[in-house]
Amino acid sequence: MSNSIIQQIRNVARREWKRMLSRPIYLLSSVIAMLFCYLFFLTLMSEGLPEQLPIGIIDNDNSSLSRTLERNINASPQVKIVGKYASFTEARKDMQKGRIYAIIDIAPGFQADLLANRQPAIAYYVNDVYLVAGSLSYKDLTYISELMSGFILQQSLQAKGITGEENLMPILQPVAIDTHQIANPQANYNVYLSNVLLPGVLQLLIIMFTIYSIGIEMKQNTTREWLSTGNESVLAALTGKVLPHTFLFTLLGLMGVFLLYEGMEFPMNGSIAWMSLAMFLFVMAHQAIGIFIIGLFPRLRDAISLGVFYGLLSFTYAGFTFPIEAMPRGAQIFAWFFPIRHYFRIYVNEALNGVDIRYSLIYFTGMVTFLILPFLVYIRLRKAIVHHDREETKNSRFNEQLQ
């Protein structure tokens, strides 16, 4: 056996591959889990923006005008009237069953009041327990109402002799709004979520896999054999162990990057190369966190519980659904301790805003910083690995005596 550290690492890495393949349940489940999530999230929201959201109507006016409104609503792609109700109670009950996300209530005498200039009202009821469906159906209903009321105003203006678009529009809508939804003009919901949810799943798998692969050596009393493969060098043993995982997870991660930005054609206004680098660092940072956790609590069961806790909290601290700055001040600080936060910022800079790389350097640095973590617990972890044998032998002898 060569004494060079490279050789030692290579030996440990070879051993690790063999271990992974001899009990392939963890390897397979990680790979399958990731592939399954790619399939799940990208097909679940493939519509981009939910269409034909079911809503209900109570038309107590039953006039030509109310029917026109109903037709206009049904013509819009975003919502669809699936229920007509005689009373509000009836409609509310269906809303409580989750069948409709919004109710349009047109009171009797709507058309008559309108023609008599009494400015009648339509009531919209929106169920914001389903925030996305509620917000979207309300947005659409407002839009249609504005169109309707513009249409009616237009007719009364035309009666006054004001005709032609260039004369009508300044009165109908004196200030037009020109909206730029930067990089996501359709407000595609899939883009919001999948860009961060999928790396989120990946980091969870990486942390668990790293903790498991080290912890199981202690649990199964194979640390001696592991260390000797690395010629008693803990550094070589650790590096050799996680290197095959780095390769595996980087491959899975890059697959996601290409799937999103090439396959699904999600917005990419920067460079895929920088995103790929970010993904590589993302993988390494989470391996470092995994080592840190098992180093801190060198017992598989404790480390795994902590790993799950941290990995699930990552989804919150990415800040992609609920922004960090809207959290209580005391909770905001922790965002720095999650590589996914830095990854999220790099993704926004590169994929969405397409900005110069200098704006992202701090986040790249942030992710690299996590690589220090294993060195912080190095001594503790070495102690755990080296002395594990002795303790375990002692314990098992103790157990034997008990029995």
Binding site: Y124, D128, V129, T142, V175, I182, L352
Partner: protein, 402 residues
């Protein structure tokens, strides 16, 4: 002890019952003795609801910083800027001379939107033309986008309405009738069940049910796995007494069930009241609805744990599934738009029905009749997973005895 041969049926029943109780108490002992299990069953269920509720406490973004570029520099444009700043949603943090200057803070994530009022804004209004205001939204988060649209639309439409009335006066429509013609009918928005349109009120009820589902699942699989590892009993440790697994199943179930009735009451009834999330449901209905939910989760977890050989297995492999379950429930991406394949897939898991049922009863004030679909589905799951568990135990026993 072999008094099961006693002829008296009543005594036999009593004896079986005592065994069930014994196994239940034994299960409690195992849980309390094992710090890892205590952490999952009692620690996580206590801490997670408080932790997540605290993080999402603020519900919405207030005074989101934006930049304004007012090239018009007129009374009207300055009025518009004031209006935008006055909305609860937005805060004009910067005023710049051109769009280029706004890029730097936008790229540094100091602002989440830009409003651009062009040079000809005032001229166009004075010349009776249609003026345009451009808004640029940060699309990195749905919340930024929604806040920007709410605030900017409100501010700009309000300014537009004033001008509209002025112009109608000029067109010969005056007074109240101008106002009415400007908006021939009104529309009132009524938010039902989540009035603050808050994020916590939307997410937390879902998370609470998921916490119950997942801690129960991971706890049971962990417990079974570690019993298997420690080889406490000669045959399968699942079956503490050879051949008799009904008392085992019932005893274990009774243990988890009694424990989680308490946990459920805390998570589903106390937490929403304490943190002021929606809670208009009837507490009794919630408890009644969660009886089949708990049973379904328990039997589902027991069934899965038949395949679990080690303590850590489930906890290493399945945490990612929490995210899948969250989305299968249809609280975010609407249920009406979930592809049928995934909708069917979601029916495998009690969480799908549990979350929908809880949202409907707790957040929307539905009664049990309105959640009949979910309620029956959970009972069907309970029956199916119970039978499957019995079946799996049988097979397992036969193979271990051989």
């Amino acid at each position: 002890m072999n008094n099961s041969n006693k002829p008296n049926f009543f005594f036999r029943l009593l004896h079986e019952l005592r065994r069930v109780i014994y196994i239940m108490l034994d299960e409690y002992r195992v849980i309390l003795k094992d710090s890892g299990l205590t952490v999952v069953f009692l620690g996580a269920t206590l801490v997670y609801p408080i932790l997540y509720s605290s993080i999402y406490r603020n519900e919405t973004i207030r005074d989101m910083p934006i930049a304004v570029i007012d090239e018009s520099q007129s009374v009207r444009s300055r009025e518009l800027v004031r209006r935008l700043d006055a909305t609860p949603d937005l805060k004009v943090a910067y005023q710049f001379n051109n769009l280029e200057e706004a890029k730097e803070p936008f790229y540094k994530h100091k602002i989440h939107g830009v409003i651009y009022i062009p040079k000809d804004f005032n001229q166009k209004i004075n010349r009776n033309e249609q003026a345009t205001v451009s808004i640029y939204c940060d699309m990195s988060s749905f919340m930024y986008y929604r806040t920007m649209m709410l605030g900017a639309n409100f501010g700009i439409l309000e300014a537009g309405n004033d001008i509209k009335v002025e112009r109608m006066n000029a067109a010969g429509i005056t007074g109240r009738s101008a106002e009415i013609s400007a908006s021939p009918f009104r529309y009132e928005k009524n938010i039902l069940f989540n009035e603050p349109m808050g994020f916590a009120s939307f997410l937390m009820p879902v998370v609470l049910v998921l916490i119950i589902h997942q801690t129960l699942f991971f706890g049971i699989t962990m417990l079974t796995g570690s019993l298997r590892e420690e080889k406490l009993v000669t045959i399968d440790p699942q079956l503490r007494q050879r051949g008799k697994f009904f008392p085992t199943i019932f005893g274990k179930t009774l243990c988890y069930f009694t424990l989680y009735i308490v946990v459920c009451s805390y998570i589903l009834l106390v937490v929403p009241r304490f943190f002021q999330f929606p809670h208009i449901g009837n507490p009794l209905d919630i408890i009644r609805f969660f009886i089949p939910f708990l049973l379904a989760v328990i039997f589902f977890s027991m069934l899965v744990s038949v395949f679990i050989r080690n303590r850590e297995t489930a906890l290493v492999i399945f945490p990612f599934f929490s995210v899948i379950l969250l989305f299968l429930s249809g609280f975010s991406w609407p249920q009406s738009n979930i592809p049928w394949l995934w909708k069917t897939f979601g029916m495998i898991f009690p969480s799908t029905f549990g979350i929908q049922g809880y949202l409907k009863i707790n957040s929307m004030g539905a009664g049990l009749p309105q959640v009949q679909f979910e309620y029956i589905a959970l009972w069907i799951q309970t029956a199916v997973y119970f039978l499957a568990t019995v079946f799996a135990y049988r097979i397992q026993m036969r193979t271990t005895e051989r």
